[in-house]
């Protein structure tokens, strides 16, 4: 067990796990802190907020399943609702991954989306999709605080002892961000704001593994039919320019390791259409038979353990490290998730 923990502890270092037996003493690693978190600090993701995307098996016949957690209220809910509608209409079935751009994004949807050469062949969207405005790329602080208060009450009613608010003073990485005046976590999501007055807005961040909505030029905001995930350095310049609707909680490697497209923007060119990965089905987990429903949890970003985890990410003192950084990029503090089975 302890050797297992040490491997986990080393999992963000470059040392060999087989080196564990010679492991020097050190402070707990971020992963050891997460492993030690109490059951109360883990929040179960509602099945209604999980999408199960089944890709065609790989060349060796191995199954490929990707699980996506949809964004929480009040963020991007118009697109999130559209995505549930599209999944329930089975619109995503038999589409494909059409674009893989190195150090940027993997994008899936209708291969004929926005393609003049395939005029008229574009897949028809179901009825009742909402059309969102660009102002919905952000939310007001007031909305978020109200939603936060509602969640806290709900959890108190469930008998969960709420963790003390984050240690004061806030570590200064919150304000040492090149893209925003303040970065933080809200209900398990990385977010940013341009300030703190009530008229200020907050928005979610394009970190690795986040899922967004492809769109055409402004004022188009996309429907949710065309989706992408980040597979490289956080393209934070897309924040507030495009809707984020969730993140990949399982199976990311099935997308990040796909062959890169050689066309502009990493789209597969006509002579490499065979590299497009077929998407067999996309289902809302709550629509699956009980036995097939994935069960994921994320570490409460308001919890004591998350605060300690974030501090340890910013100041690595576990054995491999000789100089703690003194800070961390918000996208380098991935919110821990686990299957309810584990831990």
């Amino acid at each position: 067990m302890s050797k297992h923990l040490i491997s986990l502890a080393a999992a963000l270092a470059l040392a060999s796990p087989t080196f564990a037996q010679d492991e020097p003493q050190g402070a707990p690693s971020p992963n050891e802190i997460v492993e030690a978190a109490s059951a109360d600090e883990w929040i179960t993701i509602p099945a209604e907020d999980l999408l199960v995307m089944t890709l065609a098996p790989d060349a060796q016949g191995n199954k490929r399943k990707v699980v996506i957690q949809l964004m929480s209220e009040p963020i991007s809910q118009g697109w999130v609702e559209n995505i549930r509608t599209l999944a329930r209409a089975k619109w995503y079935d038999d589409i494909s991954v059409n674009r893989v751009q190195d150090n940027y994004v993997v994008q899936w949807g209708d291969p004929n989306y926005d393609n003049p050469e395939a005029d008229g062949e574009e897949k028809t969207l179901p009825e009742g999709l909402r059309v969102m405005g660009e102002d919905e790329y952000t939310s007001s602080l007031a909305e978020w605080q109200a939603e936060n208060a509602r969640r806290d009450l709900e959890r108190q009613d469930e008998g969960v002892l709420l963790a003390p608010s984050k240690p004061e003073p806030y570590p200064d990485w919150h304000s040492r961000d090149a893209y925003a005046s303040w970065v933080d976590f809200y209900s398990g999501w990385p977010v940013a704001t341009s300030g703190f007055s009530w008229d200020q807005v907050w928005w979610p961040l394009h970190c690795y593994g986040m899922v967004g909505v492809g769109r055409k030029y402004s004022p188009d905001t996309g429907s949710g039919a065309e989706l992408y995930t980040v597979i490289g350095q956080a393209p934070r310049h897309l924040d507030r320019n495009i809707a984020l609707v969730g993140r990949i909680v399982s199976g990311m490697e099935h997308l990040s390791s796909l062959p890169r497209g050689t066309g502009a923007l990493g789209f597969y060119t006509e002579d490499e259409f065979d590299k497009r990965t077929p998407i067999l089905t996309v289902r809302v987990a709550s629509d699956l038979p009980e036995a097939d429903q994935p069960n994921f949890q994320y570490l409460d970003t308001e919890s004591e353990s998350f605060a300690r985890y974030a501090e340890a990410r910013a100041n690595r003192r576990d054995p491999f490290f000789i100089v703690p950084a003194g800070g961390a990029d918000v996208c380098n503090i991935p919110v821990p998730t686990r299957t309810a089975a584990s831990g």
Copy 2:
């Protein structure tokens, strides 16, 4: 040509390139600024600073070549010299990629490196490798300024008209970094410092595609035989904890798209050793026949065009964008490189 430029302009956006003909007007994109840079602003990388790594062909029999630019003086030169020694001793021939950890690193070297189960089977290193101290993870500002002055004189002697110094005031993303008090570019490399007095040190940064030296626990600093490259969010917590020796300038997709290892730290487990990618040869480009030598250039990070490119990365005003970010992470301003053929 203009359509080609527009595709390039869109290359960091999520719009479809086939949409170019309806392209709304906008400011030049970062890539358009790079395309317009003058010949004088491109610096040719000496063949002595390029490593050509040939991987075994892929499953379809396609050739896979990776080109690495070695770090410039005075950074990490002990390790860089070791790497030239190892390449010239053909030590890297017939090693393999043994580790692929999603959103972290791809690592290659001796499959028996630091592996107790393979006691005695570790590949013998050549004579004459230097052993570096941990103080060599950083360099003094004085050294760098001296080296900079030497380079400027050299370029003036070559008749290159040096670009005016960067526009004042410096854009504030330089000081809005979670890991350091100042981030910048030095001779084409992303770097940081903890301050500006003469006793302060500078160090290179773990951005996407940078190449570093695997090591064991401190005080080991690695020889250069075990190498890795970053394939995800910049793991800046490794800065000053491990030596960086270069970056991949071509063929990154051959490493970033490899299947992820399922073992601890992304190492391939015994039952997936067949996923290890064989490395056939690694050569210093200057040792290759003239005709086989790659010819790469990078955009002078002291040039006017680079300053405009960085500003445009921080404030996207090209057609796809509706809100300029107002800043950019230093690792989201990749230094443009090109083959001398292009442009």
